[in-house]
């Protein structure tokens, strides 16, 4: 499976964020997107997920039957947790929504260090706990491409080590990790795209 971007360009609100962006990622590869605030890191991730149409260029998933949207996990700024549901219910929902097999909910929550919180409503959790829950989504259903927008935000030191291990394992299974970040992420041999900011 290969993820190809050809001549991607995007303009938001009349400003060109980037243009002529191309890259090719194969199994086990990772890409780190860096750049100052407002340079289009989130936009690029949303574009790859198909949540935004590009103004130029295209995204292709070669050697795969599935459309791109059904091959990606997207963890954005927002944790996509329903405050009124328990943590376990939130995760179980995403497991059945995305399907495709994956780790059991209880086991995953335990692994993310929030196993004891499974019965609590998500609204009482701290920012770091919510972030761990959002990352747990990556494990309860398996998809080959992870799109992570500032994944280390609000995570403590242990959480960041755990995140690095999860990304490493995913790449070891032949997955692709694309992360937008300010913080240093522990992603060995990752390629880097630097977005300069609005032209």
């Amino acid at each position: 499976m290969r993820l190809l971007a050809e001549g991607l360009g995007s303009a938001r609100g009349g400003r060109t964020l980037f243009q002529g962006l191309s890259f090719a990622l194969g199994a086990g590869d990772s890409l780190v997107v860096v750049g100052p605030n407002g340079s289009g890191k989130t936009t690029l991730l949303r574009l790859i997920a198909g949540l935004l149409p590009p103004t130029a260029g295209r995204i292709i998933l070669a050697d795969s039957e599935d459309p791109v949207a059904e091959s990606v996990h997207f963890v954005g700024h927002l944790d996509a947790l329903k405050g009124a549901l328990t943590l376990g219910e939130n995760l179980a929902f995403y497991k059945s929504l995305f399907g495709g097999g994956g780790d059991a909910v209880d086991e995953t929550l335990g692994r993310m260090g929030i196993g004891t919180l499974a019965m609590l409503p998500a609204e009482v959790l701290s920012a770091g706990q919510r972030r761990r829950a959002a990352l747990a989504r990556l494990l309860v259903s398996h998809r080959p491409i992870w799109l992570l927008d500032e994944p280390a935000n609000a995570l403590d030191a242990d959480g960041q080590i755990l995140l690095a291990r999860l990304m490493q394992e995913h790449r070891g299974r032949g997955g692709i990790v694309i992360a937008a970040t300010h913080a240093r992420l522990d992603l060995p041999a990752a390629r880097e795209i630097s977005l300069a900011g609005a032209a």
Binding site: R46, A49, G50, L51, L52, P53, A69, E70, V72, H73, F74, G76, H77, L78, D79, A80, L81, K82, G83, A84, L85, E89, F93, Y94, S96, L97, F98, G99, G100
Partner: protein, 223 residues
């Protein structure tokens, strides 16, 4: 695919029925509308009997408007709307599952309440059955129209009134044929079946149009 749709249905039902979900508000509003009418028109039982079906329909229609603006806005605010786009189901079907959950939580209780409130207006048994039948068919259509309006207003804050204004004109045919069918059952001048079938046809139209148009509006709103 059906597992994903069932998951959406189950989650939205749970959310509506939990504290703060707002499922009970519609029933209380419906009760309030029906109760104030006799105070306004006076204790004239023949008159209440004659306008009873119309009062029930107006009350149910207005109560059905409550909460429609939150169908997609809540998901948009917490980021889970993005993930619906990535689910392995067509967006229109996901939207339909959300509308169905909304109706079961908010519309179905109105239908159950209608005959009880009808007794308060002195409506006879025959037209109680008729008005309940028309509400069973008509109120889901109101929710599906609201699905479209909720999708159009997804990014707007405080859009409750806007959604109501968008829904009401489209819901007028439902109101006309809903009340007409009930009147037909009572007076017998025209057969109940004729306006009732038209009501069914209009509802079916919105069951199809609502989710497809809502999906298109959501796609447009992302850009």
């Amino acid at each position: 695919m059906s597992a994903a749709l069932a998951a959406i249905l189950k989650r939205d039902l749970k959310l509506a029925l939990r504290a703060g979900g707002g499922a009970g508000i519609g029933v209380i509003f419906f009760l309030a509308v029906v109760v104030i009418v006799p105070f306004a028109v006076g204790p004239d039982l023949p008159l209440l009997k004659r306008i009873g079906a119309a009062v029930l329909w107006i009350g149910a229609l207005l109560a059905s408007l409550l909460g429609l603006e939150r169908i997609f806005a809540a998901d948009h605010e917490d980021g889970s709307l993005d993930l619906l786009f990535l689910a392995p189901v067509p967006l229109a079907l996901a939207a339909a599952a959300k509308a169905l959950a909304h109706w079961v939580a908010t519309g179905l209780p109105l239908v159950v309440m209608a005959p009880i409130l009808g007794l308060m207006l002195g409506i006879d048994a025959r037209s109680l059955v008729a008005v309940t039948a028309t509400l069973v068919v008509g109120t889901p259509a109101v929710t599906f129209i609201g699905l479209l309006a909720g999708a159009l207003a997804v990014t707007l804050p405080r859009s409750g009134l806007l959604v109501a204004v968008l829904v009401l004109p489209l819901a007028i045919p439902l109101l006309i044929f809903g009340v007409a069918a009930t009147d037909a059952a009572v007076t017998g001048e025209i057969p109940f079946g004729a306006p009732f079938r038209l009501l069914c046809a209009i509802s079916l139209f919105f069951f199809v149009l609502g989710p497809i148009a809502a999906a298109a509006a959501l796609r447009y709103a992302r850009e």
